[in-house]
């Protein structure tokens, strides 16, 4: 309709003006202080007669006389009334109505509320801000967009999950991930490890990334407890409220097609040395025992062909491409293969994405259909992530009273993942530990022994160079890519329906039900001769998760209590039922050396492990708000909850207030301060206990100390009284949060500043409390710890340039300095969050995640207690290694818009904190890291750790360092013992980099949109836009070879540790969007 009016109005008006003599025509241009405003409406006051501005903001209208008043209005702007007088040309400038444009947010129930009435912190991220990131995954696109929200991707694998943490850690062993509300209903953002340890296997996905990012209109991040209290024990980590796009009433069918192509590149990789060859003690060797590159100096080799054993002497290997490899007898070649090996593993990955949406609306209803297809390739060859999204949402208005909305979203993801981390079959383990003078290109094939007997499907690796052994030591990286399979398929369906019923003038009811279900099938297939799984292994995990949610809400419209006081009330009932069934199957010891993924081929089939987790809860909740003189707003909410995991009912209250002090007479019309609001809030939220922890169980133990298991199950079964005790008196963890904030706008809204100070304590934290093992019990699940967070959050936006030529440049940013402290742990001082040689821990008096491990012995004055050769010694007891939490984090961006062009850039900074460079530390042990490829010339006599003396002037491999007892030579004897390597009997303190500060150019985008009238008339399209985006383009940091955001244990409570984690990637993309 509107389109029709737009097209016809000038013509009609001209015709009318010709016919009626007394009238006159007024024309002009409508604009804001930035650009012209097409589609603004012009009405003659007191009549229904009107017009609409055209695509260039121009309008003309017939008016009856000079006394007529024209009302100019446009959505998001303040209406303007003008008396015509004798003018015939009226150029109108409309003022943005800040309170309308930016000030609607969606609360935790999915209901839009006026932001000015809220006393809590809500950060809104709009669709266009998500789009500039060029990310296909929603979570990653949130990175650096709002203060106090930490988003860290586990690694650069396609589809890899990411951690979201709001205002620091709020619990110790439970999930720290926020609750996700999609159009008012809770959905899963699981990051399950399944049968894998978090530090081995493949990196897992975050289920929130199943959502089609193109469907999203906005994401409201409810950081504070008071905004989330109605979700009770699910809301301690904050709430992400996602609102999806709806059908729009434009008078025509809206069709939009968007396509993007991506190029991903590896962002960083550990630097390796190419100076010394495989072997030990300076001698070349390529046996199984020669796991390191402490061999000969490559440049000292004769630079000739290698000398090989004959086929008759030692046999030979025929690789997958038919190439024959012989066993090296004497290494003469100076060739190194680091670069070519890397090139065989990593690639520039090309990905594409297609989005189609069709929508429409009229007064009877609206709908939106969307289809998205994503085909993402990984920077690691063979890895990929493919996603198909199908969505439909619709609303139908039956009559004045009843309307129905329903939404269906289907997602299918398929991905091929690559084994990583602490895992002999992992990619980087074999790649980075491998010798620089070993060519990985032949990885799988036939070993023919000296008698001519063929052994099929052997695995060639740097310690098994002709496949003579069935054990490769570590995987050849190419075996990891091409022979192993770790596919994953997820099918997900999210449906919801809302019935809205207006009972009478002031009361309305809402009935809402939703069902979120997914099936996640993960396979891990290791063919025969895989490192550590030599006889073959096949794992199949089936995870089936569903969330059923039901709300019944009764709410009033804003009721006038007296002349200056308004109020509203909402009462609701919620039923929430969550159920997960996981079945983990494992078969090993294959009968036939085949790639068929079947259990009938396994002779060792582990008893399937079957886990059911069921949780149910009921809540009654209310929210009530009072507004006094449109200036002071007071809100309160509360939820009374009963949950299956908790004994008894718990009440979660909240109160907040906001004062719009610029509505005071004294401050009205202030030139400096456009608007100002003071906020105060306090609220309580919780974390519910894990399900089924009320009782102690029997378990069937496996006793294993360094990979030598004895499994009771295989000895005919039996039980043991669990070393972890259950507890039937579990309470929820309660987080109480106080916050105070100011929202200010200056200079006619050109500068906006939001600041919040928050303080929260979390009490009764649920953890496995360590007990003295000599009590017969190692752990006891109980409410037994407390912690606190405090910090300042700042967000700002400043329009540096905003002129009427269409140029607008804005600087925006955010800042947060969360300070976390563990206040108490019952009966202990420290709890491990991860179980590695360097663990992330909760330690009383320290921030969550503090790194812990073995240290060097020290004297009273803090200096090293050195051994007789001048080297540090291992302290018998472990201790704190450092705090990986940054001192502060922030984002800073610049957005420029000039007519059809747009530009955006965003930097993210993280200041301070430590980082455990365990990969680097262990690569020193293996002699492959660049750190240990140096040759030095002693200027004084030097001792090494073994006590050998190195004379002046003779070049020697190693590094010179002074630990306090004079310079010493760090060489093989140091790096393969205390100075590098595994376990707790090395000085892991030396793996810590004390300054993990980093700055990242996380987004850079240029856009151009074609939507001029000529273009539209010619093409019949609404617009075509192009966007060129760079993502994660540059990283400034002292951390070598790895993105300090990557995390060994994936989406987990521990962080700041790298251990052969797959690398991060940088992305370039080009997007074309066509709108009809």
């Amino acid at each position: 309709m509107i389109m029709l009016i737009k097209k016809l109005s000038p013509l009609v008006l001209i015709l009318l003006s010709a016919g009626i003599y007394a009238q006159k025509t007024i024309s002009g241009t409508i604009s804001d202080d930035f650009d012209t405003l097409p589609g603004a409406s012009i009405v003659i006051k007191g009549t229904t007669k009107g017009a609409i501005s055209d695509f260039d903001g121009k309008y003309s209208i017939e008016v009856p006389n000079n006394e007529a008043i024209l009302v100019f209005s446009f959505l998001g702007y303040v209406d303007k009334e003008v008396v015509i007088g004798d003018k015939i040309l009226l150029n109108i400038k409309l003022e943005e109505d800040a309170q309308v444009l930016d000030e609607v947010v969606v609360n935790a129930l999915g209901i839009e509320v006026d932001k000015k009435t809220l006393g809590t912190t809500v950060s809104r991220v709009k669709a266009e801000d998500l789009a500039t990131s060029g990310e296909v995954n929603i979570i990653n696109a949130l990175q650096a967009k709002a203060s106090g929200v930490r988003v860290a991707r586990s690694n650069g694998d396609p589809g890899a999950g990411a951690t979201i943490q709001i205002r620091g850690a709020n619990t110790i062993s439970g999930s720290t991930q926020p609750l996700i509300i999609l159009d008012g209903v809770p959905i899963s953002n699981d990051n399950l490890n399944g049968s894998r340890n978090p530090d081995s296997g493949t990196s897992q996905q975050s289920r929130l990334n199943d959502i089609n990012e193109d469907d999203i209109e906005s994401i409201d991040i409810l950081k504070g407890a008071s905004a989330a209290a109605i979700w009770g024990s699910q809301a301690a980590n904050g709430v992400l409220v996602i609102t999806t796009k709806r059908g729009r009433n434009t008078g025509k069918l809206n069709i939009s097609y968007k396509t993007s192509v991506y190029v991903d590149k590896i962002a960083n990789l550990h630097p390796l040395q190419t100076t010394y060859g495989q072997g030990n003690d300076g001698v070349y060797g390529n046996d199984l025992e020669n796991n390191a590159s402490w061999g000969d100096r490559i440049s000292s080799r004769p630079n000739a062909q290698d000398e090989f054993y004959t086929k008759e002497e030692e046999g030979f290997f025929t690789d997958q491409g038919g190439r024959e490899w012989l066993l090296i007898k004497s290494k003469n070649s100076r060739q190194t293969f680091i670069k070519s090996n890397m090139d065989k593993v990593f690639q520039e990955a090309f990905s594409q994405r297609h989005n189609l949406s069709i929508n429409n609306a009229n007064e009877n209803g609206r709908y939106r259909f969307s289809l998205a297809i994503l085909d993402q390739q990984g920077v690691i060859r063979e890895s990929d992530y493919k996603r198909i999204n199908l969505g439909f949402s619709g609303k139908y208005v039956f009559n004045d009273k009843l309307s129905v909305r329903s939404k269906v979203r289907y997602t299918n993801t398929k991905s091929i993942r690559i084994q990583q981390n602490s895992n002999t079959a992992g990619l980087l383990l074999g790649l980075l530990r491998g010798a620089p003078d070993f060519d990985i290109s032949g990885y799988s094939g036939t070993y023919t022994d000296e008698d001519g007997i063929q052994n099929l499907n052997r695995h060639r690796s740097y310690r098994n160079s002709i496949g003579a052994s069935t054990n490769p030591g570590y995987n050849n990286p190419l075996w990891t890519l091409y022979r192993q399979k770790s596919p994953n398929i997820v099918d997900r369906l999210i449906t919801s329906a809302d019935f809205d019923y207006k009972y009478n003038k002031w009361l309305r009811f809402k009935l809402r039900g939703s069902y979120d279900v997914y099936f996640d099938e993960r396979r891990y297939f290791f063919p025969v001769h895989t490192a550590g799984r030599g006889t073959g292994r096949f794992n199949l995990d089936n995870i089936n998760n569903r969330i059923l949610n039901f709300d019944f809400i009764a709410r009033t419209k804003t009721l006038k209590i007296n002349k200056s006081i308004n109020g509203n009330l909402l009462v609701g009932y919620n039923f929430n039922d969550r159920n997960r069934k996981s079945v983990y199957n494992e078969g090993a010891n294959f009968l036939v050396d085949t790639d068929a993924q079947v259990f009938s081929n396994s002779t060792e089939i582990e008893t399937p492990r079957h886990f059911i987790t069921q949780r149910r809860k009921f809540r009654i909740y209310y929210t009530a708000g009072i507004a006094i003189k449109k200036q002071l707003f007071l809100n309160t909410s509360g939820a009374m909850e009963r949950a299956s995991t908790i004994n008894g009912a718990f009440f979660y209250p909240s109160v907040d207030a906001s004062w719009l002090f610029t509505n005071l007479k004294a401050l009205e019309n202030s030139l400096l301060l456009t608007s100002g609001k003071l906020r105060l809030g306090v609220g309580q939220v919780g974390v519910e206990p894990r399900a089924h922890r009320a009782q102690t169980t029997y378990e069937t133990p496996t006793y294993s100390d360094y990979s030598d298991p004895l499994q009771l199950e295989d000895f005919g079964g039996g039980y043991r009284f669990n070393n972890n005790l259950g507890n039937s008196n579990l309470k929820p963890e309660i987080k109480t949060e106080y916050e105070a904030g100011l929202d200010l706008k200056f200079f006619d809204n050109r500068l906006s500043l939001n600041g919040t100070y928050y303080y929260n304590t979390v009490k009764d934290i649920l953890i496995s409390l360590p007990k003295s093992p000599s009590t017969g019990t190692d752990n006891f699940y109980a409410n037994g710890a407390s912690l606190e967070n405090r910090g300042i959050e700042l967000d700002f936006n400043y329009d540096i340039i905003k002129n009427n030529k269409g140029l607008k440049a804005s600087l925006y940013g955010n800042f947060n300095n969360n300070r976390n402290k563990v206040l108490s742990i019952l009966g202990s001082n420290s709890i491990a969050l991860t179980n590695n040689s360097i663990s992330s821990r909760a330690i009383v008096g320290y921030p969550m995640g503090t790194l812990w491990g073995s240290k060097a012995m020290r004297n009273a004055d803090g200096s090293f207690d050195l051994d007789e050769n001048g080297f540090p010694q291992l302290a018998p007891e472990q201790g704190v290694l450092g705090d990986p939490n940054p001192e502060w984090r922030g984002g800073l961006g610049l957005r420029i818009k000039y007519r059809s062009f747009s530009f955006n850039t965003l930097f993210e900074h993280s200041q301070g904190g430590v980082f455990a460079e365990r990969t680097r530390f262990i690569l020193r042990n293996f002699g492959t890291h660049k750190d240990v490829g140096h040759t030095v010339v002693p200027t004084t006599e030097l001792l090494d750790r073994a006590g050998n003396l190195y004379p002046i002037g003779i070049p020697v491999r190693g590094n010179i360092r002074d630990f306090g007892g004079g310079p010493v030579l760090l060489n093989e004897s140091y790096y393969t013992t205390i100075g590098g390597g595994f376990g707790s009997s090395v000085i892991n303190e030396f793996a810590i980099n004390p300054d993990a500060t980093w700055t990242r150019l996380s987004e850079l985008s240029f856009g151009y949109v074609l939507n001029s009238e000529r273009f539209r008339l010619k093409t019949k399209l609404a617009s075509i836009s192009f966007t060129l985006t760079g993502r994660n383009l540059y990283l400034w940091t002292d951390i070598l070879g790895v993105d300090p955001q990557t995390n060994q244990t994936g989406v987990d409570n521990g962080f700041g540790i790298d251990y052969f984690t797959n690398p991060a990637s940088k992305t370039y993309s080009l997007t074309l969007e066509i709108k009809y």
Binding site: A649, H692, S704, L710, Y719, T977
Partner: protein, 477 residues
């Protein structure tokens, strides 16, 4: 308004009417809970596995590296070999002892307290005591003072550390109790869950006596040790050993096999060790006119590339692992015989060991050609007299005999803690101690203990601190 009230009432009703189903819903659907009391035969096998792991796994391997039996080659084991020991290494073994064994034994006792005891119950109770005595004995000799009298008592959060002397006393009593139970008339003689002896009470009784002898030996009460060993394991068949299952699946194999051939391949070897040297043809080896150690050398040559499906090498996939053996008992008799009875008593017991070594029961031949290289002719008194073949340096003949017995214990004890225990026990008797060299030049004493579990250290305020691995345990001070 009435609607609202009605809805409110309905919701309240829903909320509180469901409390009972909540409990049901939260009941663990994935495991048997301890609300059920399980019969002890389902628990006892687990304690046996825990005991095997405590005695034969990581800590044993470290003890072997510290007593010239193994070499740490790479990674963690290289550091451990060089005496870089962290308390974390003790965590697993510590857990096996307290939860894996003592806690389960208390549950077994609770079951019989509640349900009464029958013939099978008496047998299981006796077995449980012997396993406990075995495990606690190993624990105290490697860690020194440990919690025992207050351990696994429900009301005690921080058990105190008992003195070693007290612990050894308790162990002797515990073993005596087990023996009394085993001598009961009503006891059963059959237990299919018993992976060691299938419930054979006589075998258990002999094991109990050998353990008594072992502990008296450790506390240097040699006369009592001799007396106990007389009733100890009397034949090879009665050796308490872990026999890997013929199924050959992961989790049932020889632990040394799995460690050396699996994911930790290359970590540790038996190359260039003092023990290996003793069996070689190098200087100072054990071969002489009456002895050929070549077959044993091949058998003990634990490596990474052999052993699958075999029993003919110490780390063969199916090779049994001795826990309390006939040989050990004979060697206790031999040593204590020399010390407390006579030269002749000691010599005859040593010769019994040699008879056994030569028999096919002692160890399988690695190669068929080894048959002629398994020679252990009996020694005679003259061999130990000055300038005898076992006394070239002319020491007292009793000491020379003891020296040979200790050396035999050192080789026979391969794969157990015996070599390290002797090294520490006999540090004040250098003339008979096996002169194992240090792995590192800057130390003057062999490691004397492991540091207790880091987990215990963090939680139990009674934990001793400041101890180093070079501080002798109380019984050796």
């Amino acid at each position: 308004m009435r609607t609202k009230i009605l809805i409110g009432m309905y919701c309240t009703f829903l909320m509180f009417s469901c409390s009972e189903s909540f409990e049901e819903l939260n009941r663990n659907p994935n495991a048997i809970t301890t609300e059920e009391l399980l019969p002890p035969n389902l628990l006892v096998k687990g304690t046996m596995l825990a005991n095997i792991s405590l005695n034969m796994s990581h800590l044993q391997r470290i003890s072997g590296m510290w007593s010239g039996q193994y070499r740490g080659e790479i990674a963690l084991y290289l550091g451990l070999y060089n005496y870089d020991f962290s308390s974390e290494e003790s965590n697993s073994g510590w857990g096996y002892l307290y939860n894996g064994i003592l806690k389960q034994n208390r549950e077994i006792a609770r079951y019989y307290n509640l349900n009464g005891i029958d013939g099978k119950g008496i047998l299981i109770t006796a077995i449980a005591r012997i396993i406990e005595a075995h495990a606690v004995g190993t624990a105290t000799v490697i860690w020194g003072d440990i919690p025992y009298s207050e351990a696994v008592v429900e009301t005690i959060e921080d058990p105190k550390f008992d003195s070693q002397a007290e612990i050894y006393q308790s162990l002797q009593i515990l073993l005596d109790e087990a023996i009394i139970l085993l001598e009961s008339d009503v006891i059963d003689d059959d237990l299919s869950e018993d992976i060691f002896f299938e419930g054979d009470k006589e075998k258990w009784k002999e094991t109990a006596y050998t353990l008594k002898a072992r502990y008296y030996l450790q506390t240097k009460q040699y006369d009592l040790a001799h007396k106990a060993a007389k009733k100890g394991i009397s034949t090879h068949e009665n050796t308490m050993k872990f026999t890997p299952l013929e199924t050959r699946i992961l989790g049932t194999e020889n632990l040394l096999y799995r460690f050396m051939i699996g994911g930790r391949r290359g970590y540790m070897s038996a190359d260039d060790t003092y023990c290996r040297n003793l069996l070689s043809t190098n200087e100072g080896n054990r071969n002489n006119a009456k002895t050929n150690e070549k077959a044993r050398r091949n058998y003990l040559n634990a490596g990474a590339s052999t052993g699958t499906g075999r029993t003919n090498i110490i780390n063969g996939e199916l090779t049994p692992m001795n826990l309390v053996s006939y040989q050990e008992n004979l060697l206790i008799l031999a040593e204590t015989g020399v010390r407390t009875v006579s030269f002749g008593e000691g010599l005859s017991q040593l010769n019994l060991v040699r008879v056994f070594l030569e028999s096919e029961n002692s160890f399988d031949l690695r190669f068929s050609s080894d048959e002629d290289d398994k020679v252990y002719q009996p020694y005679e008194e003259i061999d130990f007299e000055i300038d005898g073949m076992e006394n070239p340096d002319g020491i007292d003949k009793n000491r020379a005999l003891l020296r040979e017995i200790i050396e035999e214990r050192y080789v026979t004890g391969f794969g157990t803690c015996i070599p390290w225990n002797d090294l520490r026990r006999l540090r004040t008797e250098p003339d008979i101690m096996v002169p194992v060299p240090f792995n590192k030049s800057d130390i003057s004493i062999h490691p004397q203990r492991f540091i207790i579990s880091q987990n215990e250290f963090e939680s139990n305020s009674n934990s001793p601190s400041g101890l180093s691995i070079f501080d002798p345990i109380p019984i050796n001070q």
